[in-house]
């Protein structure tokens, strides 16, 4: 999947081979059918995603006043953006979201790759392990947030019992900013590392077996094989996993919303939580949309940069 996904993104415009000339009529017909086949999907996606995204940009650039029944737009303005750029909560949320994304994605990709490598080597019980890994990944985030909230509870949480049993005192995991951020990362890593592991297993399964045989014939040890053969071949897969994870982590909402409520204070308030609060609790639609649009633009730039760098690396290999 992974290789073709990355490469097909920009390459692969080749039309199917036309056996002979008399097909042009047939070709025109199949082109029309192609559009007929794909238009339901494209229309729905355009109506429900592209249109609201454009609308969101409009809202972020307008004077929005909330009225009794909805709200009114009055005039073009940059004030929403200047408002958020000057707000310390926005700057903190931005730094927090970037930091959180970088740390969790790094840990999850390293851990997930290791787990994927272990799973691929398993001769028996692999199916069972996959099924087990799929449970946290497919779990409702709200549920895992409640579970970790109970585990990290300051009075009857099991984590605190373990810490005090091994003489580490009685930390208030969700009570101080630093420990709340770490606790949230642990919950995220538990839930999402399996996703990376599954993608990595899928990538490993499709690697050409001959290369490994050749490496073995050449007398490469398992360490050398891993660094010189497996890892380079796995690069597109890992790139894809990183891309998906960056996107999900950057838009994170459910976990802080339920686990910490964005607190203590605003310590775990991500851009999405801040945007939600601004829109639906403070009813400041203009600023809320400006936050959402700024987050979207940043994550898009990040991903395009990442794709550019990674594609270059892939073609080097």
């Amino acid at each position: 999947m992974t290789r073709s996904m990355l490469e097909n993104a920009t390459a692969n415009e080749t039309p199917p081979p036309t056996p002979d000339q008399q097909v042009t009529g047939h070709r025109r017909r199949t082109t029309r059918i192609g559009w007929v086949f794909s238009s339901p999907a494209l229309v729905i996606v355009a109506l429900v995603t592209i249109f609201p995204i454009a609308f969101s940009v409009v809202l972020s650039l307008a004077n929005v006043t909330v009225t009794g029944n909805g709200f009114q737009l009055a005039g073009f303005t940059f004030s929403n953006y200047s408002e958020i750029f000057h707000a310390s909560v926005w700057r903190y949320a931005l730094v927090f979201t970037v930091f959180y994304t970088v740390v969790t994605v790094a840990v999850e990709v390293i851990l997930g790759t290791l787990i994927g490598l272990v799973l691929e080597r398993l001769t028996k019980g692999r199916g069972l392990m996959m099924a087990l890994l799929l449970v946290p990944w497919s779990m409702i985030t709200v549920i895992s947030a409640e579970l970790w909230q109970y585990i990290f509870d300051g009075t009857y949480g099991v984590m605190q019992a373990i810490f005090s049993a091994i003489g580490l005192g009685q930390p208030q995991f969700l009570g101080t900013p630093t420990s709340a951020i770490i606790s949230m990362m642990v919950a995220d890593i538990w839930k999402t590392t399996p996703f990376v592991a599954i993608i990595v297993v899928a990538g490993l399964v499709m690697l050409p077996q001959e290369v490994f045989e050749a490496a073995a014939v050449d007398g490469a040890g398992s360490w050398t094989t891993f660094w010189r053969v497996t890892l380079p071949l796995l690069r597109p897969t890992i790139a894809l996993a990183i891309l998906f994870r960056i996107l999900q982590a950057f838009g994170i909402f459910d976990l802080p919303f339920v686990l910490t409520g964005g607190g203590p204070g605003t310590a775990t308030t991500s851009l999405a939580v801040l945007s939600y609060r601004t829109m639906f609790q403070n009813l400041n639609y203009g600023a809320g949309n400006a936050i959402a649009v700024s987050a979207s633009v940043l994550v898009l730039i990040g991903c395009l940069l990442f794709l550019k760098v990674f594609r270059a690396q892939v073609s080097d290999a």
Binding site: M1, T2, R3, S4, E7, N8, A9, N12, P16, T30, T31, I33, G34, W35, F37, S38, A41, I44, V45, V48, T49, P52, I53, S56, L59, I115, V118, L122, G127, M130, L132, L134, V135, P136, M139, I140, T141, V142, S144, E146, L147, Y150, I151, Y156, V158, I198, V201, A202, V205, M206, F250, G251, D254, F257, L271, A272, M279, N289, V293, C303
Partner: protein
């Protein structure tokens, strides 16, 4: 004898087995805690030090979830929304995936790139404009207010998976079907679909899971209790000051069941459906 057990032990305690045990513990311990706590009484939930095994075992939480709280309603709503959206995504998305894989359309690359970009967008960016639209349509507090957005947001990724799977299917059978005069729809239905089942199952599992777990739109668009889905329902159990963990965990265990069954039955497809497109890649 002693020597033998020693080597036996050494053989068993190799790196691979150790890692497997660690992985299982890492994944399973929190799951154990979820299940065990769902069988604790209120006293057991609040016990300090914690009860490592529920004592006494109680199913009161399960009764409470369905009787005191409306978990039954939430469960039904989640099923309706997730099944409807998954069905729509697979029906519409597989046609589009086939067209984008095989039929000569201009601007395929542009379409695929735009689809990829859309699936990248943070959900928060569309929630408030969509809310306005849904509000004007009078759709707030309904099933379609979730089914339609879930369909749209899961289509891009599902089209990606299915298109890549279609690309891996050999062309010859389609060619001969065409020579025999079969229409593209007929070719798609009786030649492509049967061969693409693993890819379609994979797309289906990803879509169903995404719909089953979605929180932000469900929280924003459905405020009435009778349309709430499981994530929102569970998040709103209890009051801000008292969180009924026991009931939440009992409901959670029940909520894992449909996905658990789906994933267990189709676990082979989750990987094979993802890999097969690569044959052509």
């Amino acid at each position: 004898m002693k020597f033998q057990t020693h080597t036996g032990l050494k053989k068993w305690v190799n790196l691979l087995n150790t890692s497997v045990v660690l992985i299982v513990l890492f994944v399973a311990l929190p799951l154990y805690w979820l299940i065990a706590s769902s069988f604790k009484t209120n006293v057991g939930i609040g016990a300090s030090p914690p009860q490592y095994f529920p004592d006494p075992l109680s199913i009161a939480n399960y009764q409470s979830a369905f009787v005191h709280y409306d978990f039954g309603i939430y469960f039904r709503n989640s099923l309706i929304v997730a099944i409807a959206a998954t069905f729509l995504v697979l029906a519409i998305g597989s046609l589009a995936g086939y067209a984008l894989a095989r039929l000569p359309i201009r601007g395929k690359t542009a379409i695929m790139v735009i689809l990829l970009m859309i699936s990248l967008f943070p959900e928060i960016a569309v929630v408030s404009p969509l809310y306005l639209v849904m509000h004007n349509l009078g759709w707030i507090d309904s099933y379609q207010v979730l089914i339609i957005p879930y369909t749209a947001f899961n289509l891009p990724f599902a089209i990606w998976i299915m298109r890549n799977y279609f690309l891996g299917i050999p062309r010859e059978m389609e060619e001969s079907a065409r020579v025999d005069g079969a229409s593209p729809l007929r070719t798609y239905w009786s030649i492509i679909l049967p061969q693409a089942l693993p890819g379609i199952f994979t797309a289906g599992i990803f879509t169903f899971t995404a719909c089953w777990t979605e929180f932000l739109m469900a929280l924003t668009f459905d405020n009435s209790n009778s349309f709430r889905t499981i994530p929102v329902g569970i998040a709103l159990f209890g009051s801000p000051n008292v969180i009924p963990y026991g009931t939440i965990f009992a409901a959670s265990v029940v909520a894992v069941v449909p996905i658990g069954i789906l994933v267990f039955v189709f676990r082979r497809f989750v990987v094979s459906g993802l890999t097969s497109g690569a044959v052509k890649g």
